[in-house]
Symmetry: C2
DNA sequence: GTTGAAAAACGCGGAGT
DNA sequence: ACTCCGCGTTTTTCAAC
């Protein structure tokens, strides 16, 4: 889908604050409400905007500690991967999960209240799945975290 | 702030879909609209819900490649850190940025269209800041990504 | 793309259980 | 503390231009 400058501006605004009303968005892009509303609908239908969610303060729900876990494995069969994938999907503390290139096979971001709680997640993770070399790194400080993607590359 | 089972259920629902209307949320938690609406207000005022945003499909805006960058540095002065922090904040391709414990000092998640584009970001990152040992790992596949935090630890 | 208007949902209060 | 009621206001949504 082709995105012009107005679409990008709308996405930029909505990525920051999805509660902005259509009239306000319309003013910011110098349009009236109807075409502005239609553009937003188009962006949703095209799957550019996937969903609209509430963001929660991690510390307020007692998951202020984030842990990055790198995984290496010797098992590379599809069946093994599927099992591992399902295991990870079922653990709500895992908020990000990537298959990597290079010497590390998988990278996970996990949120927990403290290091003790992490031990529990670690056990759930490694229980039943053959994991070769699991390494955990703790984040001391979250300096930047945004769900807003850069729009400079959009065509 | 104290969160009971109903608050947690509301947060769970709103983390998945913030467009749900109050009447619908109220039905799901077996309440009428007024107290449900008030609970949501309370969660916002208390800062549990920080914001409401639109999520965008990375591939649809041409940033389908994510790169993890680990940084080690010899400079540990406050002035140096402030400079580094400001540099990173100004780069929209950097969507996450953590100060780590252990042998790695900083971890960044960066989104770009392709490896060539990453080179540009890399240059902006290292230009002007003394970085000792920068290592980049490319994600081949994003298997899980959620903004929904686990609520099982909330008190 | 614009204007205008119907339909819907929200904001917030009051009285009662 | 929640339910039910409700009305003014705002916002969404769909006409016709």
């Amino acid at each position: 889908m082709k995105l012009d400058a107005i679409d990008r501006k709308l996405l930029e605004l909505l990525q920051q604050d999805a509660t902005l009303q259509v009239a306000e968005l319309a003013a910011q892009v110098h349009l009236s409400t109807t075409p502005c509303w239609r553009r937003i609908q188009r962006l949703k239908e095209a799957g550019v905007i996937t969903r609209q969610v509430a963001l929660v303060d991690p510390r307020k729900v007692n998951v202020g500690v984030t842990v990055f876990v790198t995984v290496r494995t010797s098992q590379h069969t599809p069946a093994w991967f599927e099992h591992f994938r399902a295991t990870v999907q079922a653990i709500p503390e895992v908020v990000e999960f990537y298959r990597m290139s290079g010497d590390i096979d998988y990278l996970l971001r996990i949120v927990v209240p403290d290091i003790q709680a992490y031990d529990g997640v670690y056990k759930r993770l490694t229980d039943g799945t053959q994991l070769h070399d699991v390494s955990s790194s703790f984040a001391m400080e979250e300096i930047k975290f945004t769900t807003a993607l850069p729009l400079g590359y959009a065509s």
